[in-house]
């Protein structure tokens, strides 16, 4: 089973839910931190880094002696990472998604690919949890290729939780596509509701079963609940607005460990999600 934790709005508690849920599963499980611009799952699962690998994407390099300036490469590139307007092409490596298309369409075979580092993937083991963290290098703009590499390291046959970045753009889609179930974490505020609606549109577009977790329930208002009722979106769980949770979080502690009375909430959610995903445990 692959469970993705996403949200529209940032700061609703995706990582909090992901790490606590991972612990509450109490079985061998993979946790993939796909929020590669600001990964932080590891803060709550202290463990030594047991492996680290650099991730590169292949970007074009033009041999100007072979290029006749036909412009095919520039026409092909959807990301404008290679520009040719009659003259020799210019490469903007930071815009490149590494698809290799420019090389394939070049009639003169003037383009070859060279690796360009974009980030690293760290591996940690905390109890039963194998944590893979993608970390984009400072100054890099392309999160999707790194997220794809994190996802590629997902081992089949072992349940996985994917901690997605906030929002509803490419990095999120790359993180959650192919999941069996998506849990959208929101908060009962106007901001939470606004972005939840966009996130619901996104997952409906993807056609993946989903449900909502209302975090800080009891704060804000009841409009998120009203929306979920009207839009037939199941609320899978509610985490109350409890100051002690915020305090534990600020110390980098898991809620299920610092406040054991919440263990059942997350364990129950885990059970429910396993049932909903239609996939048996294991």
């Amino acid at each position: 089973m692959i469970l993705a934790i996403a949200s529209g709005k940032g700061g609703t508690g995706k990582t909090t839910v992901a790490v606590n849920l991972a612990r509450a599963f109490a079985q061998k499980l993979q946790l993939l931190d796909c929020d590669v611009e600001e990964p932080n799952s590891h803060l709550f699962l202290p463990a030594e880094i047991s492996g680290e690998e650099a991730v590169s994407i292949l970007v074009p390099e033009v041999d100007e002696s072979l290029c006749d300036g036909c412009g095919e490469c520039g026409h092909f590139c959807a990301y404008h990472a290679i520009i040719s307007t009659g003259a020799k092409p210019l490469v903007f490596a930071e815009m490149c998604h590494g698809c290799g298309g420019c090389m394939l369409v070049c009639p003169k075979k003037a383009i070859r690919e060279i690796p360009r580092r974009i980030g690293i993937i760290e591996k940690r083991k905390s109890g039963e949890i194998v944590l893979l963290t993608g970390r984009l290098d400072v100054g890099q703009a392309m999160a999707p290729p790194l997220i794809r590499e994190v996802r590629r390291r997902l081992l089949p046959g072992m349940p996985a939780i994917l901690d997605a970045p906030p929002g509803t753009s490419c990095p999120v889609i790359v993180s959650i596509r192919g999941a069996d179930f998506i849990l959208l974490v929101t908060e009962p505020t106007p901001f939470g509701l606004h972005d939840l609606k966009i996130a619901v549109d996104m997952v409906r577009e993807l056609g993946i079963p989903f449900g909502v977790l209302v975090n800080r329930a009891g704060s804000g208002d009841d409009r998120v609940h009203g929306f979920c009722r009207e839009a037939h979106v199941p609320i899978m769980a509610e985490v109350p607005d409890d100051r002690r949770i915020a305090e534990a979080y600020s110390r980098g502690q898991l809620i299920v460990e610092a406040l054991p009375e919440y263990f059942e909430l997350f364990a129950g959610l885990a059970e429910k999600l396993l049932k909903n995903s239609g996939v048996d445990r294991g």
Binding site: G74, H80, A81, I83, A87, F92, M95, A141, S169
Partner: protein, 119 residues
């Protein structure tokens, strides 16, 4: 010769947009035929990244040889320079004023980007 101006409007009285890559529109003025053409740049206005590069590509494809705008970043400048387009910075209020200043030879050609790249 064609001159491009970054703008938010559709005619010579429209404001000159000080941003190049994320200008709403480009006004192309044909000095010889005194004709105006408008290119919509809405797509780049909302682009997450690479607005300057794509806008510069648009200008290069338009056949213009001169760009008059407020500011131009490093990536945009690289594309414009490669396409042989001269860049002039200008703080005129309207496209018409900018055009007058250009015709009077009051604008100085930029030798490089005058603002940093921004993501």
């Amino acid at each position: 010769m064609k001159i491009v101006f970054s703008t938010s409007g559709n005619d010579l009285n429209a404001p000159l947009d000080s941003r190049f890559g994320r200008a709403a529109k480009f006004l192309i003025y044909d000095l010889d035929e005194k004709k105006i053409e408008i290119i919509d740049n809405q797509q780049n206005l909302n682009a997450a990244q690479g607005a300057g590069i794509q806008s510069a590509e648009t200008i290069a494809r338009s056949g213009a040889k001169v760009l008059v705008s407020g500011h131009c970043g490093p990536n945009a400048f690289r594309v414009l320079a490669a396409a042989g387009i001269k860049v002039y910075s200008c703080d005129a209020a309207t496209v018409a004023d900018a055009l007058e200043q250009f015709k009077a030879g009051k604008l100085k050609e930029a030798v490089g980007a005058d603002v940093q790249g921004h993501w």
